[in-house]
């Protein structure tokens, strides 16, 4: 019906689907390789530590003979490579070895501590993401005016404040001053939701604050960038209401950078959890690690490090996939 027929461009949908499939496959294949490397690094670094498991198990005053006997019994004299392969073999069977100090196996200790830390990390991430989205968008929409300045200033303060200090101030304010939250300790969900929640929300907030501050700045910059783009004018000019422009058109594109930053910050969040668990006296992975280090319990230290590393790799894989879902073109670029 039109005289001007559309020029036929070659269909490019097929190749892109191939890119995405290849990208996911490569990431999935790469993950075990990374994990192997991580396991080796953890093993070697901990092996190099001056801590002697025999001394940790038998006490400070054990004689050389009994220490040597202990080493022979546990295969500590074998070459590094042999011990690493044995460690890997155990790892594949989800056996993290034994604690030399405590009667429980490392697997059991980690199993006890992990749920608490996961709850803490998930809650902190949810809080940080929610907070940074709201504040970042408000700041971007009021760019240069007072709400933006207030949000940016507070974010800068919290991003640069040391976490343990925020934790101590928080305890001072909410537990000692206002008495609304416990100053530390953990109640499992079986103790009732409100007990559980009040025991974990404080640590989660403290853990989330620097993270939320960093994310707010990223979200603000990213949304402000996106709002200035031509396609926003196209949508507004076509009469699409502002809320729909922001939520359905802008946010999806604006979240690409924050999602990447999220992946980067997961590591910082994990090490933050060690600190926060110590400050709030929570029996999570962080506390387990600290006691393990203090007691020279290399099995425990190694177990926590491995689980943490695996979690980090898995989370980053998930973040990469989320990034891919938001920005399918990255698959082509990453070829």
């Amino acid at each position: 019906m039109t005289t001007a027929a559309a020029p036929v461009a070659p269909a490019r949908r097929g190749p892109q689907g191939v890119h995405i499939g290849r990208f996911i496959l490569r990431r999935l294949l790469l993950a075990p390789v990374i994990l192997l490397g991580v396991a080796l690094a953890v093993f070697v670094v901990i092996d190099l530590s001056p801590n002697d498991p025999a001394r940790a198990a038998l006490g400070l005053f054990a004689d050389a003979q009994s220490r040597a006997a202990f080493a022979a019994e546990n295969g500590l004299d074998d070459p590094l490579l042999v011990r690493f392969v044995r460690f890997l073999g155990d790892l594949v069977r989800f056996d993290l070895g034994d604690s030399v100090v405590r009667p429980e196996s490392v697997g059991h200790l980690v199993g006890m501590a992990l749920p608490l830390t996961v709850q803490l990390l998930v809650l902190a991430t949810v809080l940080a993401v929610a907070l940074s989205l709201v504040l970042g968008i408000v700041a971007a929409r009021t760019e240069g005016r007072w709400p933006d300045r207030a949000i940016s200033t507070v974010a800068a303060v919290f991003q640069s404040a040391p976490q343990f200090w925020i934790g101590l101030l928080f305890i001072q304010l909410f537990a000692v001053g206002l008495g609304v939250l416990p100053s530390g300790g953990y109640q499992p969900p079986s103790a009732g939701f409100s007990f559980w929640f009040s025991s974990i929300v404080g640590p989660a907030i403290v853990l989330a604050l620097p993270f939320a501050a960093a994310m707010t700045r990223v979200v603000r910059a990213s949304v402000a960038d996106e709002l200035a783009k031509d396609y926003v004018r196209t949508a507004v000019g076509a009469g699409v209401p502002w809320r729909a422009v922001l939520l359905r058109n802008v946010l999806r594109n604006a979240l690409i950078t924050p999602v990447t930053v999220l992946g980067v910050h997961v590591g910082a969040l994990m090490s933050g959890a060690i600190l926060v668990e110590t400050v709030f006296n929570l029996p999570g992975m962080g506390s387990l690690l600290i006691t393990g280090v203090n007691q020279g319990d290399l099995g425990v230290v190694r177990g926590v490090a491995i689980v943490g590393a695996v979690a980090f790799v898995v989370v980053n894989l998930l973040v990469d996939l989320a990034y891919l879902a938001l920005n399918p073109r990255s698959a082509e670029a990453a070829r």
Binding site: P7, T234, P328
Partner: protein, 319 residues
């Protein structure tokens, strides 16, 4: 005479933060009747696109606007929020310059068309695509903008502009980013759609050849001011303002087989460096001392307006 669809009078636009008290658009007047095709021409930086955006009420909040922009006899700037909002898309549709950045890279073409059609349209995304000559509708609807060719993207943008059956379409250099052959197709398409749907068309361009094919009336702008306006054929055949004559002498025409092109010396200055009086005078061969005063736009023959103290002589045809 019927009420014009769009009537711009004494329109001035400033950007106080960037350019201070300089009128980046200075005292613009422009009328477009129902179903009329009007062109605005000038070099890059003359404020043509800015005029298009001002007419569509899409200037950024940093712009300071004075004067009247009336749509169907009502001043846009005194309209209530609701009324002003209803104007967007439904009253005025805009075809933007750069189709790649003007489409959302993260949404499929289908999603972008649907969210506009949902606001009220006599058509469907599929029909709109067919209307703009994209017959492979299924594939195009599922595609993201970067999966389409430049010409296809521009057609999608036209479909978006027409989705809500506007009375006025503002086409802001819709062909700049395209191959010459595709340019001609897009212009033919715009013309055809205009004849079908009878919307008024404001065509912003620097390309005099395209303008001559499309517009019945033409307004020539230089540095934010209207220098000349009138029927397109008249203006192209007998330009009165030295700037228009210069533009014509600098444009390529295959039919005329001219040996050399005559460029206009110099370039359009940044708004911060606009000279007082006639802004073209430093590049103008006819300029005298009195050009330091601002020439007013005044009638010059039937249907023509001119702002020049020393116009090109009437008898003299362009070389």
């Amino acid at each position: 005479m019927t009420t014009p669809v769009l009537s711009v009078a004494n329109l001035s636009v400033r950007f106080p933060k960037r350019y201070g008290a300089i009128d980046v658009l200075d005292n613009i007047a422009l009328d477009i009747g129902p179903g009329e095709r009007v062109a605005v021409v000038g070099e890059s930086g003359c404020g043509k696109s800015l005029l298009g955006l001002a007419a569509a009420d899409l200037l950024p909040p940093t712009a300071q606007v004075t004067g009247q922009i009336s749509f169907r006899g009502k001043d846009v700037r005194t309209m209530g929020r609701r009324e002003r909002f209803a104007l967007r898309g439904a009253g005025i549709g805009v075809v933007y310059q750069d189709a790649l950045t003007s489409l959302n890279p993260g949404m499929t073409v289908g999603a972008q068309l649907r969210q506009v059609c949902r606001l009220g349209s006599s058509s469907t995304p599929e029909r709109l695509l067919v209307d703009v000559g994209l017959t492979d509708t299924g594939r195009v609807l599922r595609a993201k903008p970067h999966q389409l060719s430049g010409g296809q993207r521009q057609r999608v943008l036209i479909a978006l502009a027409l989705a809500r059956d506007p009375d006025l379409v503002i086409a802001d250099e819709p062909t700049t980013a395209l191959d010459v052959t595709v340019q001609a197709q897009v212009v033919a398409l715009l013309r055809e759609l205009q004849e079908q749907h009878h919307f008024a068309l404001l065509f912003v361009s620097h390309d005099l050849a395209l303008v001559s094919e499309l517009a019945s009336r033409t307004t020539v702008m230089y540095a934010g001011q209207v220098v000349e306006s009138g029927p397109t054929t008249e203006i192209l055949a007998r330009p009165r303002h030295p700037y228009t004559a210069g533009l014509l002498a600098a444009s390529v025409s295959l039919e005329e087989r001219r040996e050399t092109l005559t460029p206009i010396p110099g370039h359009v200055r940044q708004p911060g460096e606009f000279v007082a009086g006639c802004r073209f005078r430093e590049r103008c061969g006819n300029a005298r001392d009195d050009c330091a005063n601002r020439p007013e736009l005044a009638p010059d023959g039937p249907g023509r307006l001119l702002a020049c103290f020393h116009p090109v002589a009437k008898e003299e045809e362009t070389p």
